[in-house]
Amino acid sequence: MDDREPTVSATLLDADADDPATGLRAVVTLRRLAERLEAEHVARARLAGWTWERIGDALGVSRQAVHKKHGRS
């Protein structure tokens, strides 16, 4: 097993360094994708009977945090 910290590829860091707009746009788009992915998979975990605590542990956040964010669905 390779347990080093995941590294960010060279492309991720130096691409379009001359254009902040593109880099920041990529950040916003990624963040939105991550939010959607999270909502989808939290919902699936709930359907599969996972507790909020287990989901929180999997996401690395508190049970309260994950419930507050996704609890109303």
Binding site: S9, T11, L12, A15, D16, D19, A21, T22, G23, R25, A26, V28, T29, L30, R32, L33, E35, R36, A39, S73
Partner: protein
Amino acid sequence: MFEHFSADAVKVVHAAVAEAQRCEDPVISAEHLLVGIATARDGPRLLGVEADDVRRARSDRDRDALAAVGIDVALERHVPGRPRRRRHRRFTRDAKGVLDEALKQAIGLQHRRIGVEHLVLAVTARCDDDVVRLLDRLGIDTDRLRATTLDTIRRAA
């Protein structure tokens, strides 16, 4: 300031808010106002494109931005499913600028009300980077858009 807006112009602003919500964008930008304009009754005629064309251009632009940092994903264009969380979103400086400029455009033309056409003129007058690039993707030249919009106003007068 909205007391000077026509009913259609108010709808543009509401549509911009709804668009930001639908896309889960954190703020309401001049781009959302552009989508809003395209949803207005006279919008597609003034712009020469439909709202979905603007949405597609934004989505393509986002995909290209990810590709530029080495991430290759297919972005969904229309996200189905559960309703998005409503939360307060602020207007960006650019978006406020467009609304202020629309007022100036109306005053400049000695019009009493701010209509959709003044919002279009405001977009072309401000030339915000993001918006100009988006219009460029749509094959819309800002100078030309300004000229044709002024034409439309003159013919309606």
